[in-house]
């Protein structure tokens, strides 16, 4: 199922641990059941009866399937798309068959073979429709991902930062060549990542390294004015996050929060794990008269969009202004590499 277009994502099963995916499965299967009920009833009164009848046999099966998929999602993730799809069909058929003896319409009249075939048929039909829906959705969203990536690229490399940093490095070359070397190394790393075509999740540890390299460069030119306080739970470094999640936010904090101030300013980064959620909180001084400096909204919209593409409704990004500080709050599922 490889596509010729380079920007397309290869087909993949949806993430069955994702709330958004689950609700889509439940909604689409029930919508399909309603359609079938409508097609099989000749009058309005009959429709209600049909719906009750179908729901009675459908819901337990559906719930069972969803639970098995949730439990088996890590295993399914490792399979190639076609194998994964076959496995899902297998699971659905198995669950349907397992629930069959408890179905209300079984009366031991010998009709049960026919009923079983019908049930399995509906199960295959429903699974096929949902699989087709996710396949289309994947195709529809993959250009968005490349679009978002391009946008991200533009938002990330602020020319202002590049030229100021180069100027700072030039000022070091004669007096402190060692520091100039280190600064150029940081700068290259930063741009290598920023220009990479990567949209796979990465370990937060790597993103934090990138942020520190970026802050080293800014420290070079801003000196005492730039103060950063990190507060990290020990376990969070393993968490998986979209690449370039934090760095653009830290860059924004410097641009909007530190540069407009004459005196020292503090950036705070708090990252903690709460059960199965990862929570990132970033604050910086708020300068009202500079809040219109361009770029902030774009970077935030970009990150919000990428979070949504990766985690659907399970991730959120909120901002607010409190006590003279600008705050960004990100909540997303806590995942680690397999």
């Amino acid at each position: 199922m490889q596509s010729i277009r380079q920007n397309d994502l290869p087909d993949a099963l949806p993430d069955f641990r994702n709330l958004g995916v689950m609700s889509r499965v439940l909604l689409s299967v029930n919508a399909l059941a309603l359609l079938i009920a409508l097609a099989r009833s000749r009058e309005i009164g009959e429709f209600a009866a049909r719906v009750t009848e179908i729901a009675g046999s459908l819901e337990p099966v559906l719930l069972g399937v969803v639970i098995v998929l949730y439990a088996g999602s890590t295993l399914l993730e490792r399979l190639a798309y076609v194998h994964g799809l076959l496995a899902v069909f297998g699971i659905v058929l198995a669950v349907t068959a397992a629930f069959f003896p408890f179905q209300p319409e079984i009366d031991g009249s010998g009709e049960w073979r026919r009923e079983l075939v019908w049930s399995l048929g509906y199960a295959v039909l429903g699974t096929g429709v949902v699989a087709w829906y996710f396949h289309l959705r994947n195709r529809a969203f993959s250009p968005t991902i490349s679009e978002a990536r391009l946008q991200a690229l533009q938002a990330r490399i602020r020319p202002h930062f590049l030229f100021n940093s180069l100027n700072a490095v030039l000022s070091l070359i004669r007096k402190d060549p060692k520091r100039a070397e280190a600064a150029l190394e940081d700068l290259s790393e930063l741009f290598r990542t920023a220009m990479a075509d990567n949209h796979e999740l990465i370990a937060l540890r790597d993103e934090l390294t990138l942020c520190r390299q970026y802050l080293n460069l800014e420290q070079l030119r801003l000196g005492e004015r730039l103060r950063v306080q990190w507060r990290l739970d020990p376990t969070v470094e393993e968490a998986l996050v979209p690449p370039m999640l934090l760095q653009p936010l830290v860059e924004n904090a410097v641009y909007h929060g530190i540069e407009p101030g004459i005196g020292p300013g503090l950036i705070e980064v708090h990252i903690e794990r709460r059960d199965d959620r990862l929570r990132l909180k970033l604050t910086n001084p708020y300068h009202e008269e500079y809040h219109h400096r361009q770029g902030n909204r774009m970077a935030l919209a970009n990150i919000r969009e990428r979070l949504q593409l990766h985690f659907d409704v399970e991730a959120s990004l909120d901002t607010r202004i409190a006590d003279g500080r600008f705050e960004i709050d990100i909540v997303m599922p806590y995942r680690t590499s397999l």
Binding site: P159, H160, L162, F163, N164, A168, S171, L172, G223, I262
Partner: protein
């Protein structure tokens, strides 16, 4: 010819160091001395005023006072210096400089470009009036008064009222009064969001208006006057401005 006196104004220390290095390289071809350095426009103005420098190299993006605002205040000095702007990347400013033939340098600065700009400045090139205002029409943060060897800067947000008298405008703050050589009409245009006109000769800070009082009888008519926070004095409202003032207090 006495060597050119140069002042460097940039909020980033490495950027100031870099300019110093480059000036050093230009020294043989164009003798000059560094009269001083500052990390912001406010200090930079004092150094420029006290030293009587001929050239100032100023960064555009600085906290508290932008390079453009710095240049506007530098124009009122007894001997206004030539201002050479330095910028890392400010697309809008650069476009405006090109249109108005204002000299500027981009970071990282090159010695050859710096030398050309210094030579132009040494030959007496100065900005035409009104160019800076058209490049950046954003309101200033300060009003400035030049005195011998120093500049008095008054924060616009500290001003209680502005009153026109003959060829000056009195700037009233809690701390006292200053005279600036500007027109009330232009101040009203620049700071329309901050001040409101209550009389042909007077603008008051909108945020300080606490109410109005029946004032003294003038020319047989009882007028209104404005009550401002922190000020004993009552300022008369003209009949013409009364409707606007009334809408602000009610």
């Amino acid at each position: 010819m006495t060597p050119l006196r140069v002042v460097i104004v940039d909020d980033e220390e490495p950027a100031r160091n870099r300019l110093r290095e480059l000036l050093e390289e230009c020294r043989e071809e164009l003798p000059h001395s560094i009269a001083g350095e500052a990390a912001n426009g406010v200090d930079g103005l004092q150094i420029a005023a006290a030293s009587g420098a001929e050239v100032v190299l100023v960064d555009i993006q600085m906290p508290e006072m932008s390079g453009i605002e710095f240049a506007r205040h530098a124009q009122i000095l007894d001997h206004p210096p030539a201002v050479i702007f330095v910028t890392a990347h400010d697309r809008y400013a650069v476009e405006a400089f090109e249109v108005n033939a204002v000299d500027y340098l981009t970071k990282p600065v090159r010695a050859a470009r710096l030398l050309t700009a210094l030579k132009k400045a040494a030959n007496g090139a100065r900005l035409a009036r009104g160019v800076l205002e058209s490049i950046d029409p954003a309101p200033r943060r300060y009003l400035s008064v030049a005195e011998r060897g120093r500049v008095i800067l008054v924060r616009v947000s500290d001003v209680i009222y502005l009153r026109a008298e003959l060829k000056y405008v009195t700037v009233r703050t809690l701390g006292g009064e200053h005279l600036v050589e500007e027109s009330l009409a232009q101040l009203e245009q620049e700071f329309g969001g901050v001040f409101v006109r209550i009389h042909r000769n007077c603008l008051v800070a909108r945020r300080l208006i606490r109410g109005v009082e029946r004032g003294a009888e003038t020319e047989g008519e009882v007028g209104w006057s404005v009550v401002l926070e922190g000020l004993e004095e009552r300022l008369p409202v003209s009949r013409r401005q009364w409707p606007q003032v009334k809408s602000l207090v009610s």
